[in-house]
């Protein structure tokens, strides 16, 4: 178990900069998730920590030691690869013990650690099989087991669940989270799936184009996204981002017009001189009300009844701004009908023209 510090870490391939000065601190035993869309640099950053990619600039510090010039073989970290990267010519037992044999650990100790990892991951029955004879889920367990037996300073996971089917992905996600709790190890996990990030992380690092957009606890990111990108990326279904115009401003609140005659009062202040803004409302923060209490009247395009909840896809008058609404339970709603909605107090986010979140006051909403 170890802590990790990245200081202004940069990576360039020739003239192309892919990581732009990342600063990050990971404490002992923390579960940190790098999340972002494809090509954002999250895997590159992980590989730089692993020592598989050279660092163009900056420092990587593990347990107080600068490891920029230390090869991956000597960093004492373990990595679980997206493709599992199991040695096809070795049995599961050999795959698990390979790193320990290289490190010349005593045979008895190797056997003990392999048996322990196999027990934890429930792969005892497959120890003498080759990887080709295992299912995807079993291979993933072996890959995790290979990391466990080495008792590394830090576990690195590079999109380890992306090759599994949906059901297995959820089950393995839970197992990795339990494993973290059990081992108390420092883990860094890369994914493009924000649900994985939200459910597993102590701390999420949101990346875009090699830049850290926001670092924080999952619920911090959900409740207080720093910018439009984080607001849109965290949460499923994604936050509704409605372009609007500030038409009135009072102390602590502004009035935003998001469609003809649709105005919403958002608790924002003190307000800089802004004209165009983006109003962010999560689908689950709408409530269905009677027509007389409605802040918004949504024209329904499509309804997805999922049983426990209902997703309604619609648009504001004029049809320019699509909106997704998530309602608890089952609702009998027909396409083309109108849905009267209000926004839960305190659940609005306002972003200025540059996409930066404006500081939130106690939130209320008022009908236009």
């Amino acid at each position: 178990m170890a802590d990790l510090k990245l200081v202004n870490v940069c990576k360039s391939y020739g003239q192309v900069d892919v990581i732009h000065g990342v600063d990050l601190e990971v404490k002992h035993g923390e579960f940190v998730v790098f999340v972002g869309p494809s090509g954002c640099g999250k895997s590159t950053l992980l590989r730089m920590i692993a020592g598989l990619e050279e660092i163009t600039d900056g420092d990587v510090v593990i347990d107080g030691d600068y490891v920029n010039d230390v090869d991956a073989t000597d960093r004492g970290l373990a990595m679980v690869f997206q493709s599992y990267a199991l040695y096809p010519h070795m049995t599961v037992r050999k795959n698990l013990s390979f790193g320990l044999e290289i490190a010349r650990v005593a045979r008895q100790e190797i056997d003990r650690r392999v048996a322990e990892a196999a027990r934890i991951l429930k792969i005892e029955d497959y120890l003498d099989r080759h990887p080709a004879k295992l299912s995807g889920g079993q291979r993933q367990r072996v890959a995790i087991g290979r990391a466990i037996v080495r008792e590394p300073k830090i576990f690195l996971f590079d999109e380890p669940l992306s090759n599994l089917d949906a059901e297995l992905r959820v089950a393995t996600r839970v197992e990795i989270a339990k494993l973290h709790e059990r081992l108390g190890a420092t883990m860094i996990y890369v994914t493009h799936d924000q649900v994985e990030a939200m459910t597993m992380a102590d701390k999420i690092v949101v990346l875009r184009n090699g830049v850290v957009e926001q670092i924080g606890a999952p619920l911090d990111l959900y409740n207080h996204p720093a910018n439009l990108f984080v607001a849109g990326f965290i949460g499923s279904p994604r936050m509704n981002l409605l372009e609007g115009r500030v038409i009135g401003s009072r102390t602590g609140e502004i009035e935003i017009e998001i469609a003809d005659n649709v105005r919403i009062t958002a608790p924002i202040g003190p307000l800089p001189d802004v004209g165009k803004v983006t109003l962010g409302i999560r689908p689950e923060h709408f409530a269905r009300v009677g027509a007389e209490e409605a802040q918004l009247a949504l024209t329904i395009d499509f309804v997805e009844a999922l049983g426990g909840e209902t997703l309604v896809y619609g648009s504001l008058p004029g049809g320019s701004q699509p909106i997704i609404v998530k309602l608890d339970g089952q609702h009998l709603i027909e396409n083309g009908a109108s849905l009267s909605l209000t926004v839960q107090p305190g659940q609005m986010h306002v972003f200025d023209a540059t996409g930066r979140a404006l500081p939130k006051m106690r939130a209320t909403a008022a009908a236009a």
Binding site: A50, G51, L52, D71, A72, T73, D74, L77, A78, M79, F81, S83, A85, L86, Y87, P88, H89, F98, G99, I102, A103, R129, H130, P131, A132, K133, R146, R150
Partner: protein, 310 residues
């Protein structure tokens, strides 16, 4: 008396199948003619001739196992040819494969101009087996050749010819063979490219250094390719003929030191017109090659691993 007739429906089905495959069979005919007339026919004929005394000019006379009896118990040149050929195979194949693997690994690094290097290294394989190169080789290693002059610089007496020295002639031919490492090198390169990069990275994360990764990851995963190259090169080496024929002017000299099996077979068949005996030699070579190949296949289960866990 009962008669068997093919039911009409089955006859129709057979006719239909023939109709459907007819154009395919037509395309096959030229190859089939070649195979039966030029390969299978002569092979079966030589099998028969192996048990005869046949001088090409008079009809063959069946002699039973006489040819083989002479071969195993009386023919000292046969034993010499075997010894020369086995020495050649056992030295040239491992050396050639080792050099091919070494160069392939160097070229696999993706250095600048790698395609040019690959072409240059492959060149000897294209031209190395030719008579022209064997003649050139003879000039190089013969008396007053380039090597003679170089050896003089190192203090050797003038007039040294590696090819005219029974102690060095075979070694020179082994070097000539090893120099033609291009074909196995290209296959090794393809094999190296097949090993996923993430396996090397996983091994690095497991703490394996360069040599450990080579011995524990690269070599085992390359085993199917090594296996293939080993079989092909062994067969090729057993069949080696041109170089020995050219550099020794067909004699296998000096003092039979380059008397390759195929060269001896050629001498028996086409110089001494003992075609029956030459056929027996040819069939025994086939048995040797088959035995070597079978042994390699049998050993494969101990050292060749396939991705599917076999």
């Amino acid at each position: 008396m009962a008669t068997t007739t093919i039911p009409r429906s089955r006859r129709d089905a057979i006719a239909k199948r023939w109709q459907r495959g007819r154009s395919g069979y037509m395309f096959l005919i030229p190859w089939l003619i070649g195979f039966f007339a030029l390969t299978l026919g002569p092979a079966l004929a030589s099998l028969y001739l192996a048990f005869t005394k046949y001088d090409v000019l008079t009809p063959p006379v069946f002699t039973g196992l006489d040819n083989f009896g002479y071969m195993f118990f009386q023919d000292y040149r046969f034993r010499q040819a075997l010894q020369v050929t086995f020495t050649y195979v056992l030295w040239s194949v491992p050396l050639k494969l080792g050099l091919a693997l070494l160069i392939a690994i160097a070229l696999d690094k993706g250095t600048r101009g790698v395609d040019l290097y690959r072409a240059i290294f492959y060149l000897p394989s294209l031209i190395g087996g030719s008579v022209a190169i064997a003649v050139l080789w003879r000039q190089l290693f013969d008396r007053d050749g380039l090597t003679d002059q170089l050896l003089q610089l190192l203090g050797w007496p003038p007039g040294t010819s590696l090819l005219n020295n029974p102690d060095h002639a075979l070694k020179t031919l082994i070097v000539l063979s090893v120099w033609q490492f291009g074909a196995p090198m290209v296959i090794f390169l393809a094999g190296l490219r097949q090993i996923p990069q993430h396996l090397h990275e996983a091994a690095r994360m497991d703490g394996a250094k360069t040599m450990q990764r080579f011995s524990r990851i690269t070599l085992p995963l390359l085993a199917p390719v090594i296996f293939f190259n080993l079989i092909m090169q062994t067969i090729d080496a057993f069949k080696a003929f041109t170089q020995a024929f050219v550099v020794s002017a067909g004699t296998g000299g000096p003092i039979d030191s380059t008397l390759f099996y195929t060269l001896y077979l050629y001498q028996e068949g086409f110089a001494f017109f003992r075609m029956g005996y030459a056929s027996a030699l040819a069939w025994f070579l086939l048995i040797i090659i088959a035995a070597f190949t079978a042994l390699t296949f049998l050993s494969a289960k101990y050292w060749v691993h396939y991705d599917d866990g076999r």
